[in-house]
């Protein structure tokens, strides 16, 4: 029981004398910026070799580069950037921005939605000659690969061995250039834990049939025995065409990968409008049974189902299959639905919640109505809290619209995120009254798309009611006794809908248990400057609005915690949001 390796005397050792390559690799691997990794590479030959052949670089191929460069140059050094721009500038700091062929080892390759020529240039020095195999040095170093642009068909076959690849994200658009024999390099990915087939944000004009076929080929060929996270968006050609190969291929893939714990399934539409016969089709019982059997064979912890048809308001038939699958789950920790509403959906959700009542902690429900009704100003379907009454350990609830029957909210809730709240029988106070350990309430109004779909947020009246509920009033009925507790954080993303937050704050007039919402001086007026800069840079899809984040301080007062933090929304919402943002900003001291 002895060892035979002698350690050198302590006072003479240096890193290179002592630490083996695998330890140095681990040290360098923890570095998060390319600047640091490049510095280590310049220290000495050994460190360079480790970086190039064991650690690799993070490489980004993007056409964002000019914008990133200008942003870096123009932005004030200490200015706070909105999160969306932060992402872009962090790409600049954390990645090699590559414009030519790779000669270095790559740890993470992000091929953004950029010019195809750039990407081809990266992986092949002779892109115009189909007979020359693309070059890609040290593929065994590659751990994370993200592709959002059509790829050379031979890419995966030349990227071998991908012995350390742990994360693979391919967009449907990227698959559009592949061929049936493009995926043989993916037959044995031992380290792959995350596979994402992502939807294409811009819906470019690609051949839906070709993408469907390549997705099926990918799912058939790829084998990852340690896969944990699977996130698949797949195109559904026809809402009424139940014979879709993608669902079948996906079912087969899941059956071969029972290690999966987190599943996200999104059904998306191709570019063209969905057309089909108007008469209703029934989902075949045989397929429902197959989906149910598949659900029995795997035990998931988290499931998300999204029905992302942009061009149709009818629910996808495939949703029926996935709900049949989910009804067999009984150990779910998280569940998220983004679906078209239907009569059966409530029954299905109810059944799933009931089966996972002992484990479900996080629930997000977003249901579109099948038909828009602008007269009634409805865009999302309110969530009926009676669905939740079975949940025994539910902690976090997110809903896209109002909550109905809030008296059924579980008292285990710690946070509620709701995109709209009006002063009515479902007011904030009732939520507080029915919840025992609530810590955070977040109101965000991210809805849009109908002329009346803006400006829900929260009203000043609701805020007054919120503060009033934090009172030691002795007249409270027994059922209201727990109202006196205090929520720790109240976040309002869109500000007050009526923009009339009182400059003196809102006070509950209670000397025993004083509670007040009050504003604090905004640390920066950078938001306005930033919007100006952005228009110069022609990224005017991005707009920013303030977020009000009240946090309970030790004295019992809610103070505006993050007055200057901003987030982004799309331009087509901008006019209304800008007005709201200005009204809120103007009330700051």
């Amino acid at each position: 029981m002895t060892d035979h390796v002698k350690l050198p005397a302590v006072d003479t050792i240096s890193v290179n004398d002592v630490l083996p390559n695998e330890i140095l690799e681990q040290v360098i691997h923890n570095l998060t910026t390319e600047a640091d990794i490049c510095a280590t590479k310049s220290v000495c030959k050994r460190w360079k070799l480790i970086v190039d052949t064991m650690v690799g670089h993070k490489v980004l191929a993007t056409n964002f580069y000019p914008m990133v460069h200008i942003l870096k140059k123009e932005m004030p050094q200490k200015a706070k950037l909105p999160s969306n721009l932060k992402d872009i500038t962090s790409l600049n700091e954390n990645y090699h921005l590559a414009i030519r062929e790779l000669t270095i080892g790559v740890d993470e390759l992000l091929m953004d939605e950029s010019m195809t020529a750039t990407i081809k240039c990266l992986i092949s020095t002779c892109v115009n000659d189909p007979n020359i195999t693309p070059s890609f040095p040290f593929p065994h170093v590659l751990k994370r690969l993200s592709c959002f642009e059509p790829l050379p068909p031979d890419l995966f076959n030349t990227l071998t061995p991908l012995s350390t690849l742990s994360y693979l994200n391919i967009s449907l658009f990227a698959l559009s250039s592949m061929k049936s024999n493009s995926f043989s390099g993916l037959r044995r990915l031992r380290c792959l834990t995350t596979l994402i087939i992502s939807n294409t944000s811009a819906y470019p004009d690609f051949n839906c049939c070709s993408v469907t076929n390549q997705l099926c080929n990918l799912l058939t060929e790829l084998n990852a025995p340690n896969l944990i996270h699977l996130n698949v968006s797949y195109p559904v050609k026809d809402l009424l065409n139940v014979k879709d190969d993608c669902t079948t291929a996906l079912m087969s893939f899941i059956k071969r990968h029972l290690t999966i714990l987190t599943l996200v399934v999104g059904m998306c539409s191709p570019n063209q409008d969905i057309k089909g016969p108007t008469k209703e089709f029934r989902y075949p019982q045989s397929l429902l049974d197959l989906m149910g059997d598949l659900g029995k064979s795997i035990s998931l912890r988290s499931v998300t189902v999204k029905d992302n048809h942009l061009h149709s308001l009818r629910p996808s038939l495939q949703v029926k299959g996935w709900t049949a699958f989910m009804k067999q789950q009984n150990r779910l920790n998280s569940l998220q639905f983004l679906l078209k509403s239907s009569v059966e959906l409530n029954q299905d959700v109810s059944a799933i919640l009931s089966k996972n009542r002992n484990t479900l902690k996080n629930l997000s429900l977003s249901c579109f109505p099948c038909e828009l009704n602008e007269e009634n100003d409805i865009f999302f379907v309110p969530v009926d809290c009676r669905l939740l009454s079975d949940c025994l350990v539910l902690q976090n609830l997110r809903a896209t619209d109002r909550l109905l029957n809030t008296m059924y909210l579980p008292n285990t809730l710690k946070s509620i995120h709701v995109d709209a709240m009006l002063t009515n029988e479902d007011s904030t106070g009732i939520i507080l009254a029915k919840t025992g350990v609530l810590e955070t309430i977040e109101f965000r109004d991210t809805r849009g798309g109908t002329p009346k779909g803006f400006g829900y947020g929260i009203t000043v009246e609701s805020l007054k009611e919120f503060v009033k509920m934090h009172s030691s009033n002795e007249d409270k009925s027994q059922s209201d006794k727990n109202i006196g507790r205090k929520v720790k954080r109240l976040i309002i993303l869109a500000g007050c809908t009526d923009g009339k937050f009182p400059p003196e704050g809102i006070y509950n007039q209670d000397s025993i248990q004083p509670v007040q919402l009050r504003k604090r001086k905004a640390p920066s007026t950078f938001t306005q400057e930033l919007i100006g800069d952005l228009s110069v840079l022609e990224v005017n899809q991005i707009l920013n609005y303030p977020r009000i984040d009240w946090e309970l301080n030790e004295k019992g007062f809610y103070e505006d915690k993050l007055a200057s933090s901003v987030t982004s929304i799309m331009e087509h919402h901008s006019y209304e949001w800008l007005q709201d943002a200005e009204s809120v900003m103007s009330f700051r001291e």
Partner: protein
């Protein structure tokens, strides 16, 4: 309580509980090997670690004792989760524990943690070395780690060219 005697390279013996010792992958293997080969089930295992001197072994055991109730980290956690995992699990106690150590001791501790297969300790010590690289220039790193450039001819210039994106930014 079942005990195991762990002896350092300079002959110091540490008597520790087997439960604690088994949080080291290496010691766990040695104890199990001893059990299989020993006729006497009551015999106390004795493990000699000739690569680790007493001062360092004491530090490892001290760290193990502090973290005896932590979940054991899988050896390949970083491979699965990517960069930056070493930050996870670093407590104030860990920071206070590492603060007085000079780089030489830290490197010995890294080797010891690697040899004894103590993943958590290896992570935080590597993180400490990493912090001595973060944000520094090449010369500063060479000074900190007592290293000299061994690039020849235009090799350093070539490396600088490869790095030009970072430099330009």
């Amino acid at each position: 309580m079942a005990l195991v005697r762990v002896i350092s390279s300079d002959g110091a013996a540490f008597l520790v509980s087997q439960r604690l010792a088994k949080r080291s992958g290496k010691l766990k293997t040695e104890i199990e090997t001893f059990r299989k080969s020993s006729d006497n089930s009551e015999a106390q295992p004795e493990i000699r670690i000739v690569t680790i001197r007493a001062e360092i072994l004491r530090l490892v055991l001290q760290w193990l004792q502090q973290h005896q109730n932590d979940p054991v980290l899988p050896a390949n956690q970083n491979e699965q989760d990517g960069r930056g995992d070493a930050e996870m699990g670093q407590s104030q106690w860990d920071r206070d524990f590492l603060a007085p150590m000079d780089l030489g001791i830290v490197m010995e501790l890294i080797l010891a943690a690697n040899h004894l297969e103590v993943k958590g300790l290896l992570d935080i010590t590597c993180k400490l070395v990493e912090s001595k690289i973060t944000g520094r220039t090449v010369d500063e790193i060479r000074t900190a780690f007592k290293l000299k450039s061994d690039f020849k001819g235009n090799e350093e210039e070539q490396t600088r060219l490869e790095n030009r994106w970072c430099v330009e930014n």
